[in-house]
């Protein structure tokens, strides 16, 4: 039963740690985006359009046709 317990612990442990790392990376990037948006807006005195969230000039947003 020792091998079984080790197998479950290692596999589930790896998946759990990777999942945790994904959440941490996403949170860090979300914070960076918020900071960049706030600083860009403050620098040029603009309001930021967060409602549309899909512009041809916004690289990497969803699946814009501008990607092609």
């Amino acid at each position: 039963m020792g091998y079984v317990q080790a197998g479950y612990s290692i596999v589930l442990g790896i998946l759990f740690l990777y999942g945790l790392q994904l959440v941490w990376r996403r949170r860090r990037l979300n914070r960076s985006v918020a900071r960049v948006v706030a600083s860009d807006a403050a620098a040029v005195g603009l309001t930021v359009d967060t409602a549309g969230a899909r512009h041809a000039d916004a690289p990497g947003v969803g699946r814009p046709s501008g990607d092609r």
Binding site: I14, L15, R26, L29, V36, L46, G52, R54, G62, R63
Partner: protein
Amino acid sequence: MSTNQHVPAPPVQSRRSLWTTRIIGITALVATAFTVWLGLWVTPPDQVQGNLVRLVYIHPGVAWVALYLAFGLAALASVLYLWPRTRSLYWDRLAAAAVEVGVVFNVCTLISGSIWGKPTWGVWWAWDARLTSTAVLLVLFLGYLALRRVPAEPEVRAKRSAFVALFAAVDIPIVHFSVLWWKTLHQGATVLNANLSPTIHGSMAWTLLLGFIALTLVFVWMLLVRYRIGVLEDWLGTGELDVALRERQAEGAGLDDDEAAA
């Protein structure tokens, strides 16, 4: 404040998409917990393998996700990127996300198989066709991930990555049919065999099925989160260095504002 200029909109995630990801994550967690409970405490030991059969409830599941779902999806997304009519960085991001998650599942496949192999075959590793082709698959997709870190324009990186993914994907059918093409230590298919008649029954079969579903859900959740990370990284500027620079700039701007306010 009104404006006649436009700051590129941030990649806002819709509430619906956020909740879909959360629900899939919670369902995956519950399904995995049930699989562990059934696999370790409820199902009976096997007549031949004894308690070692319990590893079978997770090992084929992680292998299914790595080989067929993750790397299969990466190959499909790469074809769609290379096809001129469907070319979009969306497919490149999806392939990259699938490969990264697939590599983690591939590592889990090799480790769980090795842990099962030691008490069964007497060795942690054998240069068996199934094991070796699975290890080669891991190395090929690690190469894919390494190639993506080479600085290049997004389109150039996407194109060369797609070619590498398709080259690596040639190994997927080799892994699958290795137990038929060569005389291997590794057993043949339990469920998807030539006669399509599973050689596992009762609570063992249901636990195995639940294991497949649970690990598939874990993969879908990880894929969604990893894809989102790709979107955010692209918006901030490709490459971790760019991201770090933009973060520092943002922090600097924040400090300037504080000083001005003081």
